[in-house]
Symmetry: C2
């Protein structure tokens, strides 16, 4: 697997992007992106499990129900088109129609994504003008611009691409994502668009996406809150001339790598985050139990403030594990921390070892470190990634709308 330097959503053959300053909410920056494919794409998508799903999510679910041949995705930043009722639904559909007219395809071949403030209607005049202004500029060179245009409180664009060799031909998978808060994806993350030039039937594409997402976007948490707009879309246009069948391990690994890279970028750019922490739980009854515990540690405010304070406060990690609702014997637990793998054992048989506090503090002072909690002798394993809870997180979110 080869990582493409500066790769992104247009690295795969046949994909193009364009951006424009539609002035939907932000001024002096591009806030609307279109990603299109020169040929029809098979598609797989995963959406937020939030009951308060945004209008674009509801419209896209209708689109995906028909096994679409997608041609383009329209993404706007600054307005989530959530809690907008019937008007919001009509606005999402009108966005499809406008884009389809400019791109000369059917509205059902347009996928829409929105991110930003909840409860405000999309300014459709600006959306229409923006789409019409952007389409003439569609080019493979604009992948990075697209990743920037979809940012809200993100401080850096999030994109990546890899290539693999299959039957002596090159298959490329690229993608971009946005999101720094309201991050606790249930079946998907804030917004992510993945592209590949492989040819893959929709049913298979769905399986590949589910596997990749379950190992990446579904394993990150910044604040435990799940967005109304979470969407991840994978487009496959076949431009590489390579057809991918069922169970292609190389493709699965590459797609998972792309998703994992994007998921990590989201955590590293978490609102106010100064630490990137990997939390592994092993020895559980099953993977689900391990995941529940890892996740509960990852969203604990007391654990996350300890990360922020570089305080190796393992008592809070034990507390969070214990409140996950999963039975285990505290006297069998072991807790390890390290920068790269299991470096220092803090707890054995449920009680503290005689480790030196300075050694533990030195690890927690790093910008990235790992925590490994062993809770028994079972086979269940899970790894999740999270950030710390800082003053800056409070500042960003106590002021967001103003």
């Amino acid at each position: 697997m080869n990582t493409i330097t500066n790769g992104g959503v247009t690295s795969a053959a046949g994909f193009m992007a364009a951006t424009t300053a539609a002035n939907i909410k932000y001024t002096n920056r591009d806030d609307l992106a279109i990603v299109s494919s020169e040929r029809d794409c098979s598609a797989a998508a995963m959406f937020t499990q939030n009951q308060v799903a945004a209008a674009p999510v509801l419209v896209d679910k209708e689109v995906m129900a028909t096994e679409p041949k997608l041609r383009a995705v329209v993404i706007n930043a600054g307005n989530a088109n959530a809690c907008t009722g019937q008007i919001g639904m009509e606005n999402a559909r009108q966005t499809q129609v406008t884009a389809a007219t400019s791109l000369d395809c059917d509205p059902s071949q347009i996928f829409v994504m929105s991110t930003g403030v909840i409860g405000v209607q999309l300014p459709m005049d600006k959306m229409g003008a923006g789409i019409r202004a952007a389409v003439p500029h569609l080019s493979p060179a604009n992948g990075n611009a697209a990743a920037r245009a979809i940012m809200t409180t993100d401080t850096v664009p999030k994109e990546t691409a890899v290539s693999i060799q299959i039957n002596n031909k090159t298959v490329t998978i690229g993608g971009m994502a946005k999101g720094v808060g309201m991050i606790h994806p249930d079946m998907a993350t804030m917004l992510s668009l993945l592209t590949t030039d492989a040819a893959i039937a929709p049913a298979l594409l769905d399986g590949y996406l589910k596997t990749a997402v379950s190992h990446s976007f579904n394993r990150i948490s910044i604040d435990g809150d799940t967005s109304t707009n979470d969407t991840v879309l994978l487009l496959a246009n076949g431009a590489s001339g390579v057809a991918i069948g069922d169970g292609n391990a190389a493709f699965e690994r590459a797609l998972t790598a792309v998703c994992t890279t994007l998921a990590h970028k989201i955590v590293r750019d978490g609102e106010g985050a100064t630490k990137f922490v990997e939390i592994a739980v092993t020895g559980a009854m099953d993977d689900k139990a391990a995941h529940t515990i890892a996740n509960t540690i990852a969203i604990s405010p007391l654990v996350k403030t300890a990360f922020a304070g570089s305080d190796a406060n393992w008592g809070r990690i034990m507390m969070a594990a214990g409140r996950a609702g999963v039975p285990f014997d505290q006297h069998q637990t072991e807790l390890w921390i390290g920068v790269d793998g299991d470096g220092l054992c803090l707890v054995a048989t449920g009680t503290p070892t005689d480790y030196a506090e300075a050694d533990a503090a030195a690890i927690f002072a790093q910008p990235a470190f790992k925590i490994h909690l062993i809770i028994g002798t079972g086979d269940g394993v899970s790894v999740v990634w999270t950030s710390d809870l800082t003053h800056e997180y409070v500042s960003i979110n106590a002021d967001y709308r103003s």
Copy 2:
């Protein structure tokens, strides 16, 4: 029902308290409290559901299994005796023995509670000296001193007492509690001790306590984290000469009032808290569904930072409700806010009304306000109480151990 001015854990007849500076962790303050009864008490207790239960919790569960006739409770602050293994268990049992010797009763008549840092062994010499120093000072006058001695990062003592008339005799119920962080009680809160001079059989006492706790301590959340040491104990010594039978509504209401007052005091003193917010959810399928949604709103970091910023950011409230895992139709939702009852409707049929932002902001700027989310036409109802998430919360918890 009559609220007793400056009432507390020794307001009920026959209860006494004593405190001392045992120097367990703090210096220059009392950190050990003993509450005793001049006669045997029937008792009911509820404990943390955390899998990592502290040694005193494990020992007290053994005590409660024998339908004890309790005589006293020993409480220390500064050390939780949690994650302390077999030595911690022996230390909790030794505390019982020391107190029983001083009080001339059986060790099984002593209940122990600890709160403070996790993972450090109790200094048993200091515990022993403290108990022996305190016992001679047991007096009904020391209820307030006891409420102060059990504080950790609490900024105010939390105590209350009420009296009711039953058969022309006065029955008094009093109590104290501590806790400001790691507050998301599952079956109980941090530490609370309730006393009454009614005579009540243990089996009935248990029922009264469960009802009261389910309407009070189990409906508060500061940070969504559940302590390893949560314990609430209700002692009934019969000194009033009044026997309470099954289904005594006046007693149930009075006990629930005491618990609710203490629970609210905990939320108002929440770490870094500047707001006290009541969250009511109605129209749910059943009470459990309503509670799950109310609770998810109460622990959402994005909702709580909006409270801190006095930002009536209702989109986050809708988001949090939607991620609770309870199905509902967003287009049937209604959201009201107010200082006293439903004042202002922000959302109807799932979309914003044309309310004035200044009116909403004025309500959120108050130190206490109410949120009422109607999610459908069902009969399910729940009310919970929570605080905001502030810079100060992060400061307190990023530095706690140092």
